[in-house]
């Protein structure tokens, strides 16, 4: 679970947003990834209606059955339907991803914005605090936070959110530095705009590109982190269907029931892959150098 930082020198001029979308749509792999993510969100939202069984519908007579017409992904040690649990587990992953990345965004972006905008001592203090948070390996930081807050999916969201705050602060700050010196920012300042207005109206919209890319990548890592924390018993607690927790349960029956470890793991892999591919595609289309390469290569 390593934290990847998106490149940061790429503010997104408003007039190029339409082109970004057009270039993104032309990237077939990115479109497939987007389709996978839409499917993931649909499953997460409507999972209860789609799942043939409840997440805790125990049927001991049917325990450890392999994949069949009745149980597409087989059953677990309590006879619960693995397919239904994988579908219902999507909601946990989506919720953790959204809340954790939300926390990182809400705290990290303003910190980066303020540090980059004001510079000087404020910048030094904020960024050294971020350096301290960044010095802790992600999973260990999350474990330490959960040691304090106690295990559980809500606390896991908070823990993962805290872990990714410094990444958003760094990405935002680095993107703000060149934009701060732009003529339109200086003009707005000269016309009497307040600092808050300058940051909200002029800086933030122009540093959204790297933040969007980082959001996509962080979503992937948040889902991986939740699965990892649930796998080691600190995240979602039984009997709730987290993919990581299902994998952990499955390891005890690895010789009898391969389906218990293969399907939940595949679900994590596919969603994380889709977020990473989308993140890469966004980075390519938001980076002006890459953008012109793509345009030339495709004759756009």
């Amino acid at each position: 679970m390593s934290a990847t930082v998106a490149p940061t020198s790429t503010p997104l001029p408003a007039r190029q947003r339409g082109e970004t979308l057009r270039l993104l749509v032309r990237n077939r792999i990115a479109v497939v990834a987007l389709a996978v993510l839409v499917a993931f969100i649909v499953v997460a939202v409507f999972g209860k209606a789609l799942a043939p069984y409840g997440y805790n519908s125990v049927d001991v007579a049917d325990r450890l059955q392999g994949p069949s017409v009745h149980h597409w992904f087989g059953t677990d040690e309590l006879g619960r339907d693995v397919f239904s649990r994988v579908l219902l587990g999507a909601a946990v992953s989506l919720k953790v991803g959204a809340v954790a990345v939300g926390i990182s965004l809400v705290v990290g972006v303003p910190c980066g914005l303020i540090a980059g905008f004001y510079g000087g001592v404020l910048d030094d203090v904020i960024m050294r605090v971020m350096d301290v948070l960044f010095a802790f390996p992600a999973i260990l930081m999350a474990i330490a936070v959960l040691a304090i807050l106690g295990p559980g999916s809500t606390n896991a969201m908070v823990a993962i959110g805290i872990v990714y705050i410094p990444i958003f602060a760094r990405v935002t700050r680095a993107a703000v530095l060149p934009v701060r010196e732009e003529v339109y920012v200086r003009a707005a300042r000269a016309s009497g705009a307040s600092d808050l207005r300058l940051m909200r109206r002029h800086l933030l919209p122009n540093v959204l590109g790297p933040i969007i890319v980082q959001t996509s990548i962080s979503f992937a890592f948040a889902i991986l982190s939740e699965a990892a924390l649930s796998f080691i018993g600190l995240g979602t607690q039984p009997p709730h269907p987290s993919w990581g927790l299902m994998l952990s349960d499955g390891t005890d029956f690895i010789n009898q029931a391969w389906w218990m470890v293969v399907f939940p793991g595949a679900a994590i892999f596919v969603v994380v892959l889709a977020f990473n591919i989308l993140g890469d595609a966004l980075r390519d289309t938001l980076d002006p150098r890459q953008r012109s390469l793509i345009r030339n290569a495709r004759g756009a």
């Binding site: 679970m1 010095a135 018993g233 892959l273």
Partner: protein, 316 residues
């Protein structure tokens, strides 16, 4: 150069100081009395008082921090609330297993990344390049604990080629140590290998497009000489940074792989300390990991500056 080294080292010390405050705070942020929680049903007043005194928890907060920091700097990280053993001793028993695993994972990562990254850069937009991209994207996205489970399922259980759990110290049996190291090493190394593949590809592509490569070509040098002497040597300079960061990550980030393979390393120790509410052990492990991370990053920055003299000595 000396100014850069001093400035960078001072920065690392400041951050390490901040890290120590955060680590110290762990035991104080736990709701309730940490020693009472750790002792649980084994509580007796005498043991409680002795642990409080030994851990410095009977002092006011600020003197307590300096008491703890002073002892930590001399290698005394306190005693386990559970067993009464010195934390340094507990860490010492586990460190060999973690270093073995991180080393094996780094070897796996480099074995994947160097050939794959270079070959895909030398043959851009070919099926080899696309294949390398698919492999690296897959490696980055696959959860390492799932890969670990799949390896156990196929190589350990079905094929029965390699042991699927446990650790054998090298002083007991070198072959046993190696055998037990392969699957965890692969599981922990694939993700780092995939990240490194991307960096090596990008870095080699950049070196291929540089003027010195063009000059070497226009001099009529053999392609092999150009690749080895000009492209690879220059391409690998920025890779040093990423390799260092990956090593720091591997030393500290393999907790989940350790759990899957019942690997008695530091990550497992940290996790066990959370489960048993043994906060001094958790503090010791977290402090050590963060210090590892900072020191490796500092070493990498300094090495990078040595390898590439253009790196900003002048500004931060």
């Amino acid at each position: 150069m000396i100014g850069y080294i001093v400035r960078r080292t001072l920065q690392a010390i400041v951050v390490l100081f901040g890290v120590s405050i955060v680590v110290f705070a762990i035991v104080h942020l736990v709701p309730g009395d940490p020693i009472r929680l750790a002792l649980g049903t084994r509580f007796n007043q005498q043991a409680y008082d002795a642990l409080r005194r030994r851990s410095g928890l009977d002092k006011p907060l600020v003197p307590q921090y300096f008491y703890w920091l002073g002892h930590a700097l001399t290698g005394d990280l306190g005693v386990s609330f559970r067993t009464g053993q010195p934390v340094t001793q507990l860490i010492g028993q586990r460190i060999g297993a973690t270093v073995s695993l991180a080393g094996a994972a780094l070897v796996v990562a480099l074995v994947i990344a160097v050939p794959l990254g270079l070959l895909s850069a030398l043959r851009p937009r070919t099926s080899l390049d696309y294949g390398a991209t698919v492999i690296s994207q897959t490696g980055i996205s696959i959860p390492e604990f799932w890969l670990a489970i799949l390896l156990i399922l196929v190589v350990g259980a079905k094929l029965d080629w390699l042991p699927s759990a446990g650790y054998v110290p090298p002083d007991q049996s070198v072959s046993g140590w190696l055998e037990h190291l392969i699957l965890p090493g692969i599981a922990a190394g694939v993700s780092s290998g995939s990240i490194l593949t991307r960096f090596i590809r990008a870095s080699a592509l950049e070196a291929l497009g540089r003027d010195y490569t063009l000059t070497a070509r226009s001099k009529g040098l053999r392609e092999r000489t150009i690749i080895v002497r000009h492209v690879i040597r220059n391409a690998l300079v920025p890779v040093v940074t990423v390799t260092g960061v990956q090593l720091a990550y591997l030393l500290s980030g393999v907790v989940v792989v350790e759990v899957v393979f019942a690997w008695p390393g530091l990550g497992m120790l940290a996790l066990q300390s959370v489960q048993s509410r043994d906060y001094p052990v958790l503090q010791g492990a977290v402090l050590l990991f963060a210090a590892f991370f900072l020191i490796v990053n500092l070493a990498v920055d300094l090495l990078y500056a040595r390898l590439d003299p253009r790196i900003g000595y002048a500004s931060r």
